[in-house]
Symmetry: C2
Amino acid sequence: MRSIVINAMIVTVNAENEVIHNGSMIFEEDTITYIGESPENLASFDQVINAHGKIVMPGLINTHTHAAMSLLRGYGDDLPLQEWLEQKMWPIEGKFQEEHIRLGTELSVIEMLKSGTTTFADMYNQMDIVADIVRQSGSRASLSRGMLGFGSKEMLTQKLKDTVRFAKQWHLQAEGRVRVMISPHSPYTCSPDFIKEALVIAKELDLPIHIHVSETEREVKLNMDRYKKRPVEHLYHLGVFDHPTLIAHAVHVNQEEINLLEKMGVKISYNPGSNLKLGSGIAPVPEMLKVGIRVALGTDSAASNNNLDMFEEMRLASLIHKGYHQDPLAISAKIAIQMATRYGAEALFMEDEIGSLEVGKKADFIILNTNQAHFHPMYDPISHIVYSASGKDVQDVFINGKQVVKYGEVLTLDEQRIIFEVEQIVNQWR
Amino acid sequence: MRSIVINAMIVTVNAENEVIHNGSMIFEEDTITYIGESPENLASFDQVINAHGKIVMPGLINTHTHAAMSLLRGYGDDLPLQEWLEQKMWPIEGKFQEEHIRLGTELSVIEMLKSGTTTFADMYNQMDIVADIVRQSGSRASLSRGMLGFGSKEMLTQKLKDTVRFAKQWHLQAEGRVRVMISPHSPYTCSPDFIKEALVIAKELDLPIHIHVSETEREVKLNMDRYKKRPVEHLYHLGVFDHPTLIAHAVHVNQEEINLLEKMGVKISYNPGSNLKLGSGIAPVPEMLKVGIRVALGTDSAASNNNLDMFEEMRLASLIHKGYHQDPLAISAKIAIQMATRYGAEALFMEDEIGSLEVGKKADFIILNTNQAHFHPMYDPISHIVYSASGKDVQDVFINGKQVVKYGEVLTLDEQRIIFEVEQIVNQWR
C-alpha cells in the first residue's frame, strides 16, 4: 500500500530540525519513502491524506511509564511520598489481578494514542497482558518486566526466568512493534547480586537495561549508607553501564555523575511532571545537555503525573529550567521537541527506526489540527508545538504506516467500553 | 428565563470546596438561584441542560493578561528578556493599529472562552476596542488602560484623561460584564508623581489599581538605585496600598514585603507560565499563602506564555512549588482550583458576583467533558481538574446565564474568520 500526505507543514525533527512548509510525505507499507516539497501525481496512491495547513510531525516517544497504574490516577494526591507509596499505592497494587492490569494498560494506551504518543517504554509485571494490548492497539512499545529485588531466592530466580521467557516470546513481535528491555527495578530495591544477574541475562539476550536511578534524595542517602557510593557510581562499578542502559529520573545526580553518564553513553529518561508532583526535585537537565547527553522525556505513571500527555512534558521540560535558572535560553523549543522525539528514540535504542520523519524510518507520525486560535499567528510551528499545543490537538495518528487514531478517536480500542469497565473495577476502592 | 443543569458533578469551589455528585443547579436570567442534590420537576424550566456525569464548575478567572499581544504569540521565543522586549515586542507593538488590537484581542477572547475562562483582567491601550469585544463576545472582564509613564507632561495628562473617560464610559456597562481598573504600568516605568496622579483618579472614580510589581530582579535593583526602596515598600510609601490594589507578578518579594502585602490586603496575580518562560523566576507563593494572602492566577500575554489556558496555570502553580521545595504538600489541588476561581474573584474585587457556584452569584460556569480516558477512574474531580484536565476538555461555557460556547465552539465570535484575518495582518512581519 502506497500513501501520501499532502499540503502539510512537516516538522521533520531531523538532525537539522527542518520544517517543510506545504510539503508531502510518501510512505509505503510501514516505511517513509519520500519527504519533499513538490507533490507527485496523486492518482497512483492507494491513500491520499490532505493535511492542508496542518502540522505533521513524528509521533511522541514516552520513555518511562507504568501503564497499568492509570487505575490509580488521582487515588491519593498531595501526600508525602512515603505515605503515598505505603498507604495508597502499594496496598492497592498488591490487589491488582490480571483484569486490573489489562484495564489500566488499555486506559493508558488509549490516552497515549489520542495525545500523539506512538511509542512508550513500560515497566510493570504480567507484561504478556501489556504486550498483547500493544499488539492489538497498533501501538509501538519497549516493554520490561519490572523486577523488585525482594523475596526469596526462588522468587528472584523465578522473576529472572519470567523475564527471559517474556523477552524470547515477545521481542520483535507484533510486526516488530514490541521490543523488550531488562529491568531490575532500582539500586535501592535490588541487591548488587540481583542487578548482576539481571545484567547477565541482558547480555545473553542482547537487550538493553531499563532501571530507576536517583529519583529522590532519600535513595541517594540509602545507597551511600549501604554501599558507600552514590547510585550512579554504584551501577558503574557493577558493570551495568558497560551495557546499553536507560536510567529513569536521574534527579539527584552531581556533576561527576553527569560526566560519568555521558562518558558511558547512558541514556536518560527525564520525567518532569512526576518529579515535580511527587516533590522529588528538579533534575539538572541543562547540565546534562551541556555535556552532550541527549536527555529523553517520560511521563512516569498517571498515578504521579496525573496524565500521559507528552506535550505537557515537553513544555514543562522547557519552562521549569528557564524559571529555575532565571535563564530564558535554558532549554529552547528546538531542544524540547527533540527530547520528546529523536532523543526518545535514542534512549530506547530505536533511532534507526523512529524519532524523526526521514526516508527509511517507520511511518510513525501524528497530525495536529492547527485550525484553532491558539495555533495563530503561525510564525513558527515548533514554538507552538512546545509552548502552546496539547495532546488534545492531535487529530490523526499513524504507527507503522497504519492509522490508529482518526479525528481524535482511537480505531483499535473501544474507549467507552474501557472507561465503563475501569469505573466498575475500581468501585471497591472508593 | 429559568434554566436547570441536571445530573452534574458540581464542583462548587464554595468556602468548603464542596463537590455535589449528581446535583442540579438552577439559574434565573443571570443569577444562580439553587444548587442541590434533588432535581425538581423539569417541565417548568425554559432550558434543561443534561450534564450527565460531567463536571460543572465556576468559570476560570484570568487576573492578568494583555489580550491584544496574542498577535505576537511565538514571535521570538527563547531570547534574553531585554532582547526579546527591545528587538521583538516593542518594535512590532509600536506598529499596532486599531485593527491589530481588535484582531489580537478577538483571538485571545476566543481562546479564553473555549478554554473555560469566563472573566479576564486586561491591561493594554485603545481599550474601547477591547471593551467592545467583551460586550459582543458575552465575556466578563476587568479592563484597564495601561499607562506607561513615558512622554511629555501633556502626553501623560492625556493618558490620565483617557483613563478617566474610558472608566466613565465603560465601567459596569454591557449588562455589568465590563468593569474598569486604573493602571499605572509599574514602578519602573512610572515616576512617583505619575503613580500618585493615577492614585488620585482611582480614588475619585472609586476603582481599584492594577499594576505590575517586581516581575524581575532587574526591576527591584532599578527601584533600589532610584528610590532606595524595594518596589513594594516604594508603592506603600506612595500610599497606593491604602487603596484597593492588584499587583501582577510579585516574583521578587522578600518575607518583609510579603508581610506588608498581607497587612495592606493587596491582591496578587501570580503568572507561573510567563514567569517561567521569560526566566523571571519562581515567586514565593507558598510563603504568601502561609501568611494568608489568597494568591490569584493569570496567564500574562500569549507572547510570553504562549497560550491562555488557565488549566495549565493551575497545574503549574501546584507542580512547580512541590518540585522546587521538594514538598508534595506545597500547593494542593484544593488550593490551586481556588486560586483560579475564588481567589481570582477576590483579586478583581468581584467576589460578591463570581468565583464560585453559590446561590446569589452570577451564572458563570463551565461544563467539562469527562467522558475521556484521562478523567478516569473518577476518584476525585478536583484532582483531575488540576492535575489532568486541559482547556480542551471544556465543552460548554455560560456567562451571566448566557451560553457562549457550545460543544467547544464559540457562539459569539467567528473563530475561522478571525484566524484568517490574523494570518493576513501579520504577513508583513514574517
